[in-house]
């Protein structure tokens, strides 16, 4: 489903010199999987996630999603491909001047759906995240957990094959975190959406991921299998993350 082939991304320091956020990394994520990217701050996990929908363009390597090489697409084709990749953010990034329903409708307007189709799909998606009764509220009137559920409904609306979640629970308390995670899990199971989730918490990986890559200094240290909440960790780094949890 998602293949990152020898991707690299570096950023220039303000005082000169380069920071290698992602360094010659190869990673494959299977269809229908919930895949975690875990590591300490600055390990390159967010950059790696943003390479998948080309919010960051890799300096080298290829990004294949659904068999399509995104790095080779024109601007117009890339926009079209992105409509198949939903994204959920740590800071929610909702449009403050649009209601909940209008926020969920936004990606559908972009994709050129008809008004009637949009109305029906928005209702379905709000139902999935249990926010039907908040449709006419504005984001400022919602709690953090509710805002994130709007974010998930918005990502889900155009029926994407992939949802990228960048630290989706890091701004939330533990209880809300669980409800957001089970929401992502439900979407994965009901609709078969592949979910890639960036986190620094082993607890998140343990409760939802099928597999997870441990990242350090822009490279994948190991890919762990997670079964029944048990993490099969071999590397020292993965163990230290487990202890920190």
């Amino acid at each position: 489903m998602i293949h990152l082939q020898s991707v690299s991304k570096r950023f220039q320091h303000p005082e000169g010199g380069w920071f290698h956020a992602v360094d010659d990394t190869t990673l494959s994520i299977a269809q229908g999987e919930i895949f975690g990217l875990i590591g300490f701050s600055g390990a390159g996990k967010s950059t790696l996630l943003r390479l998948i929908n080309l919010l960051e363009r890799p300096d080298a390597g290829r990004v294949l999603v659904d068999g399509q090489d995104l790095t080779a697409l024109s601007a117009r084709d890339l926009r079209h491909a992105r409509q198949n990749i939903g994204m959920v953010f740590q800071q929610f990034n909702l449009l403050a001047n649009r209601t909940v329903a209008q926020n969920v409708a936004f990606p559908l307007e972009i994709a050129g759906w008809s008004k009637a189709d949009i109305a029906q799909r928005v209702a379905e998606c709000l139902d999935v995240v249990h926010l039907s009764d908040r449709a006419e509220h504005y984001p400022a009137q919602l709690s953090g957990g509710q805002k994130q559920r709007v974010g998930i409904a918005r990502a889900l609306a155009p029926r994407p094959h992939v949802i990228l979640a960048d630290e989706p629970t890091s701004a939330l308390d533990p209880k809300t975190t669980q409800s957001i995670l089970s929401c992502l899990k439900e979407i994965n199971q009901r609709f078969g959406v592949t979910v890639v989730i960036v986190t620094h918490e082993m607890g998140v990986v343990r409760s939802v991921c099928h597999r997870a890559a441990v990242l350090d200094q822009g490279s994948v240290v190991e890919v762990m299998d997670i079964a029944g909440g048990e993490v099969d960790a071999r590397s020292e780094l993965a163990r230290s993350l487990l202890e920190a949890a």
Binding site: R98, E109, I110
Partner: protein, 228 residues
Amino acid sequence: MDIAALNAIWQDLSLLGPEIAQALVETALMLGLGLASAVLLGGPLGIVLYLTRPGQLFAHRGLHGVLGWCVNLVRSFPFIILMVSLVPLTRLIVGSTIGPVAASVPLAFAAIPYFARLVEQTLREIPRGVIEAAEAMGASPWQIIRKVLLNEARAGLISSLTILTISFLSYTAVAGVVGGGGIGDLAIRYGYYRFQTDVMVAMVLLLVVIVQAIQFVGNRLAHRLDKR
């Protein structure tokens, strides 16, 4: 102040009634044409200034620098000097340099870069992440401008327009002196040149009321549009 003096003031003002009405129309005309140009030309210019900033959608150091420099250049001119320098241009566009329509040309010229800067500043308040979310959804630049930038900044844009309107109401008085007419011109002709202080005071009071009204409407509208 006794009744006789009040009566004298009333007489002055009622004699001037038709002239005051005409001055109001002239002021409205100058302001309307100047502001319309600012919104139609300065608005897009402000959006371009914003989009070409480093780190934005169409980051372009060269273009941003050149446009910024031009905006600063026009804004450096004291308004009265700008107006005089633009006389040939005004004659070219309007065919005359006298009257409220002619006075609108320098007003527009000053208002366009002013509003462009206000728009640029207002757009900078939109969180980068919100624009990024739209990019991740596959929104085109045009969709981002229309549905994200303008919609998220709408309350701030109304406030900017309110500031512009009030600043330029005062500029119309300057434009009026060189043949544009308007309330400011009336105040100077009767109040200053003919020593009719009561007319001067009445015109200033009228302007005070207009400014308060513009600010009130601007605040109300911005508040209603702001859901943040």
